[in-house]
Point group: D2
């Protein structure tokens, strides 16, 4: 395996950091660079990235709108599992990385590139997610992680490098940002600097996507979300594509201050970090999906899912979306969603999203079963006596032994 | 084992139903009845129960304040695990039953009774919890469950029995209640009748312990909760006993509309049921405990706890508090709590309780470790390359095999 | 739902006990009985069952050879999970019950019967397995369990009933058998009486399907088993149908004394029981399947399967083969088996079956990967330094905190 | 944190490889070396190691007999969990590393050394186990792994280095060994070279500690093992210390060819490896412990242990013996062992160890409970009807829904 790099596909945002990386790749590897800029709903214009790439002499510039694929094939499957990392985090950043890396690998294969490159730093989880995805999709593809290779350690060095190489620096990038932001259609995460001390509340100005609950409307808003086979398909009776639906819920949730989270999480690379995350639409989807499942899933299904969810969340967080074990778990999860259809009513009010009603043509809620043609499924309360006695038999035996043995 | 019952200890609330049970036990078994009335924070006077028991000629009347034991030995150990059943329910009713049953068994042992009796119906979980606890604590104790034995099937029959036996019926008990309520220091649950259809929102009048979020103060309230070894010990800097602390948090949470939950759950006896639960203090404790754990627990500890929590919750829900496997899990959980000490800041506002800061003398958050005497625990971002490559090695191998084998 | 029974399908072996049940059903319910006798490889002639059924005036007599379906659709899927209950038991009886119950239900549906009936006693697991299967396949079907209903409590009463009703009693059935036996193509289990004391070794005469290892050939025998997608398809290079393959392995294993197990297990109904189980072919398949998986499954797949296997085994043991959660787990397991193909070499010798070699066209064993066209998947031992350091980072932090906090 | 090394504690066997490391450390780091040689039952004389260390001018030479500590504090706790990695491997090597590393760290602390060093290669699991242990016990201790640092890549280079430095080379070390061996009181593992192809059976000459089953005695041997609180304490009625007991069982097992295992395992560092492992005494202990647990553990205890065992095994295999999550699991496991006392009878014969009887003063086996003073714990087979009906209720509901919804 030669170490020479002839062509590399770079995940390129058009911002200062990835522009520096672009230049550094050209200089260091003396190779052709293909830029790849994706719209995952981060809310930035993509055309400036094209113009900047052109400035660097890039000939193969790829710009793609991946929003539908992102929500349909990544976000929705993950929400089928009611996925929450460490009891809190809805994995908004984690779930976007595998898709970007997948496209990088695919473009590398199409263009005959021998490497991909990304702008993730050496201290975070994203580098792991990009690279494990590449490993799992094409074992021959090399990955270049400039932040781990170069010696541009400080903001000052980066700016000097940019100036020396005629890379334009936006005015607001000259100083150090008070925190860093990642965004896509599912969430906005803010980390670092002013957020670093977990004992100090996050400043008001950090939040970007949600209104402060205290400034949200005084009037609650009731919405309905329609589900089909585990995935949301409509809001207030209007059918929407996956990305349109999530966009709609982001608007609704954001307006009511839903989905803000201030947390300390455990990174895969071994340290803790603190962030302020905003996931307005996702937070609504989490409670709504639990709501529709509560009447359509059997207990055995629901409990098995709950037991496996932490492992599933950990896999996604750690970058193993494309791994055989995640696919095994997905097969298990998807198997349970056939009848997870119906409608959930959610109340949005000053920071909270609460399920207040749920209906389904496939409900397992007993009231709905009374009229089955063969007659009711009877519950005889006398059965409970035998049920309890046999469940208690081993406990009686255990207690009797303990008493005899002098516990 | 003779089936004759000479003395029975009855869980007696003083209400109509358990008064009917009292009379029915005396008549049916011709046995002495010892009444046991406990204060678990349900918010009712206990003395009327004494007077009523006297009316039935009861000689051995036991009335106990179990609030501190309840919170210290049942509620707090359960909250160490961040316990939530089916992703939502904080187990407010489930956790109270083992304590009541334990006292029934102990009083039976003290008084030489050969049975205990309870007023739980034949369709619910509580009968299971009472009886499994009795099995596990004294395998020789019999349990009498009148609702499964007698033929008083309807409200009309119950009232007729009460009248025929001179049992006083409060005016408001003559009609059927629009829903039934269970309460203790941890929560209030409402079920049945007007709540039966999960597709219809709960009426406003159902809630009892929490104000409607929309009527909660317009001003948020910031509180701090102090933790020692996994348990809360103070609120706003004031040390409080377990029961006093939970009472205080109930007041605070209730005032801000925190902890309302409208859900459909899966009962152990095989059916679904819908309830409206209010757990104001408990909801605050859940987020606060996660908050303090987020900086004091190692990732390995936190993830292991998260993976086992659903099983632990299921055991408690199903009535297996007193079982060897619950005790094994408790040993595992408690082992992790040694350093879970510090202070959490929580914001209460119109239905939500949000952690906004957390500090600990035992923090694992890296910032706090910088000044260890031997020098910092260094993070070299170059290490990430090897970390990722070895984590990816098996994925590369898998991908290469799949490609070769034509997946 | 009327309680009248007009027609019942009975699992009928033709033996004394189910003949008594047949008569008792006719008498008690005054209903038509359809008999169902299945060949699951128990090694008994089925025609005598037909003749006996005719004697009782049965008009609809069903006799079926289910061996292929049993092995293909029940035994093999279970072995894909390396399923072992309580670390020992290969579930030979448990896995047969769902198939019998499924056919009973199907015949009931075909013939318009309103109930099924079985001969399992009230103390064992089989009643649970029969009846849960019926519940899951047709909620309207009633189940009659004569052993729980009638008052024929003792051997003497049964024999008296048989004599009174002209049911022929084989000579060897007049006395009490020294133990009871259940058999099918997967195993023979022996329980009760002479086996009851777990502190006393099983007498030599109990074993039926395997030779005593001490009397097995002095010469070891080497066999090869071919696998395709997780299931065995050939022995010593000869393709065999599922039932023929298991039959062949039973012969080979039985000859070499493989698969005897003396154990105490925990029944679902709450008590322990002791048995002597013989599973010659199944024991070979367990080690062989682990052998082929060891080179074809990725670590993530293998470990996930291992973690979930105990739950999967428990579900099958408890009678939940036909349940949504077993089907979810099966989906997960089956997802992993696509490349579990190849050949395993097993040595049989005086009671043991040992894997000594395994090959696969889809091997993940690294040696086999060296020659992939894109070049080797390199292992750089320097990567291990970073791998270890990042894995150790949280442990260092934990240790530093503990030291500082004075653990 | 300075990178200068003044004193290092080396795990020193006295063999060629660690002698080269010793010299290399002295040369490369110009530091004092303390040698540490431990007897873990590997069956080698330790005094030659002292003489060799003296030859290198080592002043602080530590030689310790750790056999009792090894078995008592590492092997026995692990066997309480019936620990098996990937369904097969008894973790003989894995469990020894934490103890050696612990002593290295302790000696470093005593002697003021700033680093430890080991002879594990860069491709295996042992480096991980040594280093994670050091991290967890003293975050300030540095670890030197010469195999990852130096450039002595081949056997030839090593021998040249040895010759150049007057390190004596035993005659049989001049050629390349046909496989490499690791041994301690629990097991002998052989790997590499002639064992590398998993499709080729291991040559006869590889096995070292067990006789070939085909050459084992023709007469079976029956032994009894006494247990107290989960740990074995006697063999054939003779009380033995932990190390003496394991030594005795190794003799017995080795004589009868018990405990040979030919397997392919998944290493933590991401590749598969094939080995021939011999664990005669350990194999007996595994089946014996399951035997005594089968009558003394409640089902809830046993199943919880079985579900968690794979994770516990993985932690030990991966080097996390000293980690908070392993200690949490140990607390859970140990909690279950209070009554795991009694006697197990095991038959050893030509490669197999089989439990044939088990007794305990604390048995939960029902037969033993009949005579409790308060009367028997009754089993009423009529209870099974209610037990089954309530267990089946959700399945009926599920089936009715599926039918209605047209599955």
């Amino acid at each position: 395996m030669s170490n020479e790099i002839r062509k590399v596909v770079l995940a390129y945002s058009g911002g200062l950091d990835t522009s520096i990386i672009l230049k550094w790749l050209q200089e260091t590897y003396n190779c052709e660079v293909v830029t790849f800029t994706a719209d995952l709903g981060q809310g930035e214009e993509l055309e400036p990235a094209r113009r900047k790439a052109e400035m660097f002499g890039i000939k193969d510039i790829r710009i793609e709108d991946l929003r539908e694929e992102f929500v349909r094939d990544f976000v929705f499957p993950m929400f089928r599992a009611n996925t929450v990392y460490e009891g809190q985090y809805l994995l908004g950043t984690s779930i976007a990385r595998p898709l970007i890396a997948k496209r990088l690998v695919e473009i590398a294969q199409e263009t005959g590139a021998d490497a991909i490159s990304h702008g993730a730093t050496g201290k975070g989880n994203d580098q792991v997610r990009f690279e494990l995805t590449a490993n799992a999709l094409d074992p021959a593809i090399k990955v270049i992680a400039p932040w781990r290779e170069w010696d541009l350690r400080s903001r000052t060095q980066l700016l000097a490098y940019a100036e020396a190489n005629q890379i334009p620096i936006a005015k607001d990038k000259r100083g150090e940002a008070p925190f860093s932001v990642d965004a896509n259609l599912l969430h906005t995460s803010s980390e670092g600097m002013v957020l670093e001390d977990p004992g100090v509340p996050a400043p008001d100005y950090v939040a970007q996507r949600t209104v402060d609950p205290e400034k949200a409307p005084d009037q609650a808003e009731i919405i309905t979300i329609g589900y089909e086979k585990g995935d949301p398909v409509s809001v207030n009776g209007v059918k929407l594509s996956p990305a349109a639906l999530l966009t709609k819920l982001n608007e609704l949730g954001g307006k009511h201050g839903v989905g803000r989270l201030d947390l300390v999480e455990n990174r895969f690379v071994g340290m803790k970090s603190r962030g302020l995350y905003e996931t307005p639409g996702g937070t609504i989807l989490l409670v709504a999906h639990r709501g529709i499942e509560s009447i359509t899933l059997d207990r055995g299904e629901a409990h098995l899912k709950d037991e496996l969810m932490p492992k599933y969340a950990e896999l996604i967080y750690n970058g193993f979306w494309f791994s055989p074990e995640r696919e095994m778990l997905q097969a298990l999860i998807d198997k349970s969603q056939q009848y997870v259809s119906g409608e959930v009513t959610v109340k949005l009010y000053k920071g909270s999203a609460t399920v207040i009603a749920r209906t389904s043509p496939h409900s397992l809620y007993n009231m709905d079963l009374v009229t089955f043609e063969e007659g009711a499924i009877a519950y005889d309360h006398k059965d409970a006596a035998g049920f309890i006695r046999l469940n208690g038999l081993r406990l009686k035996t255990w207690a009797a032994r303990n008493k005899k043995s002098g516990a």
